[in-house]
């Protein structure tokens, strides 16, 4: 689109933008097995795409930890006939933005581009090449390994990184979720381009791919686009399911000494899955405990009443297998033991007595009343499409969200939280100072 046409569009669109009326999520599977989720919307002349694979760090092994991350990271640094500079230039020439994402379950890319063919077509062509034909050039692999290692070594000086890593290792003892997402300096150093090419050939396959499309394109266009992406890849097969996460059997406390002025506290255990039957009771229950910001008991007890921390929270991270339940805060070193006690008491009382009716009502009101805010931009809608697609949630998952929140009762919450959370066997990681041996010291 020329600048002039674009200005004309902008002038017109602001006047005629259509009213919001629910989400019409279209879903199909391509001939070679890729799942596609699509919402058509022409309010803005732009297109958002997400392509995800079950290729996160859970698909690493301990001796090659970091391989999944480096593979994803290297894919847009040389693909097909294009070197890394040409890929970056071709995207920049049309103002497109391509980013990678990566966690324990998922690896992939998003693309945001103007929808006009002059911009979208070149951007999509680059995107396709990156997905299907990464080259993993030797020299670039070595350079990016060095960068990754440098970043890991810097991160290892920071309490939040050390604490999170120790926490994940402790709650996922032996499970692939325990592996650090970017690997270890020693394991990254051993990776070679053949490892990356093999990983790509195994996991970046149509049957292991979820495509989400949001924006200014019609159904026929979306089909053509998604089918094109999928056709570039051999069908392959989805990886076998991840092993289940074991429950913890022993309460572990770990102090990692650190010079920082604050201690960082991490308390928790394996929590819930993305398709968990108790998803809504745990969501609402956790809002009252530590998910609801200033509405939550943890913020009330730690911050509002005692001024012990700037941030105090709890969350359930829903994953393919049981994701983490975590309580966290940062407090000055000499308040560490006090803050830990407040957290433990708050959790204990909450599990014993559950939310009050007023707290429950507040949680439901916020989650139901705030539902439209979850879908008020193309970017947010794309993220939901990608999530629903990847985890294969029911197509009405979003539509039924407010109803399911509203239906959560106090009994549901008590039952779910008590079944799920076990303070006696939770992991506690503290990075900083205190815990009993040095109690009372600064």
């Amino acid at each position: 689109m020329s600048a002039k046409r674009l200005m004309a569009f902008l002038a017109a669109s602001l006047v005629t933008a259509s009213a919001w009326a629910g989400l019409d999520i279209q879903h199909w599977t391509t001939a070679n097995g890729a799942r596609v989720y699509f919402v058509e919307n022409h309010d803005l002349p732009m297109l958002d795409l997400s392509v995800a694979f079950a290729a996160g760090s859970a698909y690493d092994t301990a001796d090659k930890s970091g391989l999944a991350n480096l593979t994803r990271h290297m894919m847009n640094l040389g693909a097909g006939d294009l070197d890394e500079q040409q890929i970056a230039e071709k995207l920049a020439d049309v103002g497109a933005e391509m980013s990678g994402f990566f966690d324990q379950d998922r690896a992939g890319f998003t693309l945001r581009t103007l929808s006009s063919p002059g911009e979208a077509d070149p951007a999509l062509a680059v995107f396709r090449t990156v997905l299907a034909q990464p080259r993993f050039p030797e020299a670039v692999v070595e350079r990016e390994k060095a960068r990754t290692i440098a970043n890991l070594e810097e991160a290892a000086t920071k309490p939040e990184f050390l604490g999170d890593k120790a926490f994940q290792a402790a709650i996922y003892c032996g499970h692939p979720y325990a592996l650090p997402e970017s690997g270890e300096p020693a394991t990254v150093a051993k990776l070679g381009r053949a490892d990356l090419a093999d990983f790509h050939a195994r996991y970046y396959r149509a049957a292991n791919m979820t495509v989400a499309i949001m924006g200014d394109i019609d159904r026929a266009g979306a089909e053509k686009l998604a089918n094109g992406f999928a056709a570039d890849l051999p069908p392959g097969e989805a990886p076998p399911p991840l092993p289940p996460v074991s429950e913890l059997s022993l309460g572990v406390e770990q102090l990692i000494p650190h010079h920082a002025t604050q201690s960082h506290l991490f308390i928790g255990q394996p929590g819930m899955t993305r398709d968990d039957p108790d998803y809504f009771p745990l969501l609402v229950g956790n809002y009252v405990l530590g998910g609801g910001g200033f509405d939550s008991r943890l913020v009330e007890e730690i911050r509002q009443k005692r001024g012990l921390a700037y941030s105090a929270y709890s969350y359930f991270m829903p994953m393919k297998e049981l994701g983490a339940f975590q309580i966290g805060l940062q407090t000055r070193r000499d308040a560490t033991d006090q803050a830990l006690k407040v957290v433990r008491d708050t959790l204990k009382h909450y599990l014993a007595d559950g939310p009050t009716e007023a707290e429950l009502q507040q949680a439901r009101d916020n989650l139901v009343g705030g539902f439209p805010l979850r879908l008020d931009s193309n970017r947010k809608i794309l993220e939901y499409l990608a999530m629903i697609g990847f985890y294969q949630l029911p197509p009405d998952w979003l539509d039924s969200y407010p109803k399911k929140v509203a239906a959560v009762s106090r009994d549901d919450i008590m039952r779910a939280l008590r079944a799920r959370l076990h303070p006696d066997t939770m992991v506690t990681v503290i990075v900083g100072g205190q815990l009993e041996p040095e109690k009372g010291q600064k």
Partner: protein
Amino acid sequence: MRSLPPWITGTKMKPTLLLLLLVFAVQAQAQAETLERTLANGMKVIVKTDRRAPVAVSQVWYRVGSMDESNGTTGVAHALEHMMFKGTKDVPAGEFSKRIAAAGGRENAFTARDHTAYFQTLQADRLELALKLEADRMANLTLAPEEFAKEINVVMEERRMRTEDNPQARLYEVLMATAFQVHPYRHPVIGWMDDLKNMTAVDAKRWYSTWYVPNNATLVVVGDVDPAQVMGWAEQYFGVIPARELPVRKPQEEPEQQGIKEVTLKAPAKLPAVILSWQAPRLAKPAADWEPYALEVLAGVLDGNGSARLPKSLVKEKQLAVDVSAGYDPIARGPDQFMVDATPAEGKTVAEVEAALKSAIKDIQDNGVAGSELSRVKAQVLASQVFQQDSLFYQGMQIGEWETAGLSWKDRAVRFDKLKAVTAEQIREVARKYLIDDRLTVAVLDPQPMPADAKPQAPMMGGDHVR
């Protein structure tokens, strides 16, 4: 809210071009989409409609930030922002947040050098609640000393988390304190720790009664709203608050720098870091100025996209740095800066990296930039003009930032054309004029070993202490 907003003190310039080069559909706004009115008490109200979702954002911007503070009470703007959630006579401490949350809303606030802003996002038909509550705390804040005594501890924890324990953030703080000799930009937004330790409710109260008046505020509403109705509510709730005279704002202009300044910070870290910061002009007359636009495009050429000069040269080709960025934000009330920073790669020194950064600048001063680089940056400007419309909040931010910087959102009308009109020669000219040693401050992070008695150890399964 998992945690409170990561950008609450707004101290860090974001180097990415897309955050810097934001352009508006001005023609359309000038017609019917954005409505502006000034109430009799001097409060400005700006309403922009966006009907893509049944949602609205309300933002109240006060034209007061850390740059209006004095020695001894740095951080009071931000401390008062925290206290704004601590109750009025009709709305007790904590109730503001509770009522917004009960309506399904999200809310928070942020303090920056130039302004302090409070915002809520709600279903559009619940907007009135936000306006009513904001008007109440503009006029009736309680500021109880016992609430202040607790909250200042929270602020100190915030400073520990963001700054004390973060060598890169401390480097930025040291840089600013060195680059500015006179102007209050030399103080961190969150305040110096000693000032926080000695701050009292009286300091906060003085701040509140001086600056929190309708004639120092702008209400920005963006979303699926009826502008006439919003204007009616603004009149009803804010219009009744009396204006008060504002203090004279002394310019405290920074004297012309006359030679390079250098500062080193030693802190426990693994990697060194270097920041180069040049005194640069801010945007003062959007239609007449050209230099700020040229500097923006220059920042884009250096680091605006994956193919830009600095990552290409320093990270990919020479492999001197693991990371590099450039940034310039022309919207400011005070003196501006053009910044470049880098993290040296393993085995490379700060001196080598600094020399490479300077040689990249010199290359532009000597040889200018290629037409392809220029058109790439302009393509991003064009695209960002569409992309930024995806967020209601961001649309409000742009209006609020321009207004509190003393510019009008209407001035954005010329911005796109001005950016498009930037030539390679202009880029070369501003590089030659501004990116010179006499205007430069260099800050270096000199990494120290972790203190011996508290060395992070490899986390061990099973832990040290089992119960």
